[in-house]
């Protein structure tokens, strides 16, 4: 897609302005839309899993592929183990696979990537997602898929905060609810 000159229009385009909202005091939550997402799906067959995992790790410039619900950050991108036989590749191109190895897909436009950080980020996310975000069960590097108001979403806890991947079609609607519930913490949009 490098050759493309056309502008990408994100799901949240024009739906927000940067600034400080909600309760006064220190902003409990910081939102940042991460535009121009690059997201690839890599799927293996049970018997080719190990090989494909290695290729995927290589594609992001990492030593090895992560186990269930884990991620690794490589030199080129991040590798998320999202399904029993599938990985997400964020920020790097998915490897080409032969049908006997598995299959890959570009999903760069299928999700809206929203970064949620700040002292109250976890509390805010728990207003909506039924996930245990405690250190023990959700350390940095964890990736979990769950339901956000009946919609399947993916949550990745990165060094930078909570990376929320919202299905594109629902993204704006979920973004509106997030802001409603973030108001009580005071929030900033950057």
């Amino acid at each position: 897609m490098a050759s493309t000159q056309a502008e990408r229009t994100s799901a949240l385009a024009g739906s927000y302005t940067a600034g400080r909202f909600g309760m006064d005091g220190e902003a409990g939550v910081v939102f940042q839309e991460m535009v121009n997402l690059s997201l690839g799906l890599v799927a293996a067959w049970p018997d080719s899993f190990a090989a494909v995992a290695a290729l995927a790790a290589e594609a992001v410039g990492a030593e090895a592929a992560p186990g269930p619900g884990k991620t690794v950050a490589g030199t080129k991108g991040a590798l998320l183990r999202t399904e029993p036989l599938k990985f997400w590749i964020v920020g790097a191109a998915a490897p080409e696979l032969s049908p006997e190895q598995g299959a890959s897909l570009d999903l760069s436009h299928s999700r809206c990537h929203l970064r949620v950080s700040g002292p109250a980020a976890a509390e805010l996310i728990n207003r909506h997602l039924p996930l245990d975000l405690g250190e023990a069960s959700c350390p940095v590097g964890t990736v979990m898929a769950s339901a956000f108001h009946h919609v399947g979403v993916t949550l990745w806890r990165s060094e930078a905060g909570f990376e929320l991947f919202l299905p594109r079609g629902f993204a704006l609607s979920l973004w509106e609810i997030l802001q409603d519930s973030a108001a009580q913490f005071g929030f900033e949009v950057i």
Binding site: F49, P68, E83, L85, A145, S146, A147, V153
Partner: protein, 94 residues
């Protein structure tokens, strides 16, 4: 709230899943006789107590699970991936 220990995702609320149905049904071959299909599609043992059933982790890892659950107490005795191959990959811890 039933808490289902998904082999891939860990313990989650049942609201993330979709109940499938009787997991003990063995669906006949596509060219099997009509009686077999009638039995498989329309007849249920419907036990009160322990039953094998399918759940789909719709909002999670999209895996179809085979769950042993008590239909009276809702206690869950075992959960495994319906797809043996994928199950093996998880068990091998990769």
């Amino acid at each position: 709230m039933i808490r289902i220990r998904c082999p891939f995702c860990g313990e989650r609320d049942h609201s993330e899943f979709t109940y499938g149905g009787d997991g003990s049904i063995v669906y006949p071959a596509l060219d099997a006789p009509m009686e077999d299909w009638v039995k498989a599609v329309f007849e249920r043992e419907n036990p009160r107590g322990r039953q094998l059933e399918t759940w789909h982790h719709t909002s999670g890892c999209r895996a179809w699970l085979l769950v042993e659950r008590d239909t009276m107490t809702h206690e869950i005795f075992s959960v495994r991936l319906a797809h043996e191959g994928a199950g093996r990959v998880i068990e091998e811890g990769t």
